[in-house]
Symmetry: C2
Subunit: 196 residues, 2 copies
Amino acid sequence: MILEKEIQFILALDALKKVDRRNFNLEDSRRENTAEHSWQIVVFAQVLLPYAKNTDQIDLLRVIRMLSIHDVVEIEAGDTFIFDESGMTGKYERELQAAKNTFGILDEPLNSDFLNLWMEFEAEETPDAIFACAVDRIMPFLLNVYGSSKSWTEAGVKVAQVENVVGTAVKKASTELGEAFDILLKKAFEEGKLVD
Amino acid sequence: MILEKEIQFILALDALKKVDRRNFNLEDSRRENTAEHSWQIVVFAQVLLPYAKNTDQIDLLRVIRMLSIHDVVEIEAGDTFIFDESGMTGKYERELQAAKNTFGILDEPLNSDFLNLWMEFEAEETPDAIFACAVDRIMPFLLNVYGSSKSWTEAGVKVAQVENVVGTAVKKASTELGEAFDILLKKAFEEGKLVD
């Protein structure tokens, strides 16, 4: 049947709705799944674009495409908690293989289009990837700051870890977002959501 | 604080993860929520674009932006089952008010940008909106055809209803997608997933 591979691909992606992330949704009744997260950052990128450094060098379509597909590797490779240093070992190789398998369901040029966008996002070097990465990192940070921050407290996450993993990416992408991050990090620490 | 409205907006949108749609996820353990659906159609649009009629008139960024935000009105107005004719009465007015409230959290020009994209999608007249609408309609159709089709069987949905609501939108947007739709509709009927 025509469109067989395209349909097989989008049905394979359905499994992302079953991948639970470490952080909770804002109202806190359950952990967020990766499909929901991917949607929320696609919208947030549209809202944050005016605050990106070098906005004129950023192609919003490429940013949104990256954000929409960068986590589909978690269907095979699972979600890795960003503050789990041991879990991060070998993460890129596992995820690269997963990306090749999943995008490989599709014919060219879509297969390579997606794989290249995925690799560009992971490298965090181009203006598009730097901005996309900041949006991806700030979203669970906000859900923790404005929610109950269970994923931080249950793991004893430290201020310096958040500064290092979230703050660095955010400040590379946006001065204003960096300023908001500093204010909210201080607030979270004062409220006992992070340890020193 | 800087970015206060942008953050308030994205946190308000978190509630879309709690809006359950009528259809089930592919693996069938629970109904899909609207955040998950919104993500899946953002990806599917990228895959289906080569099959759109008048591909050169379609702006993929605008299509994806429409798809990512067209359902946020459901936070206030709830999800309306597309085959529930009585539920569809007054739907546009309820949702328009919800759109104004939700997008109104943001300053201009983003407030109007989103509201205009939402209204364009609903009108289903421009090439971008016609294509976006087809992607939005075909996705739950595929989940029903390839899954257990509970949302169809529990409501006794008829072939003619699916032809009318899904088929018409799909065929307006893509010849190939229309052909796949016809084959899959026949299959679903033969498997007893739809009634005559």
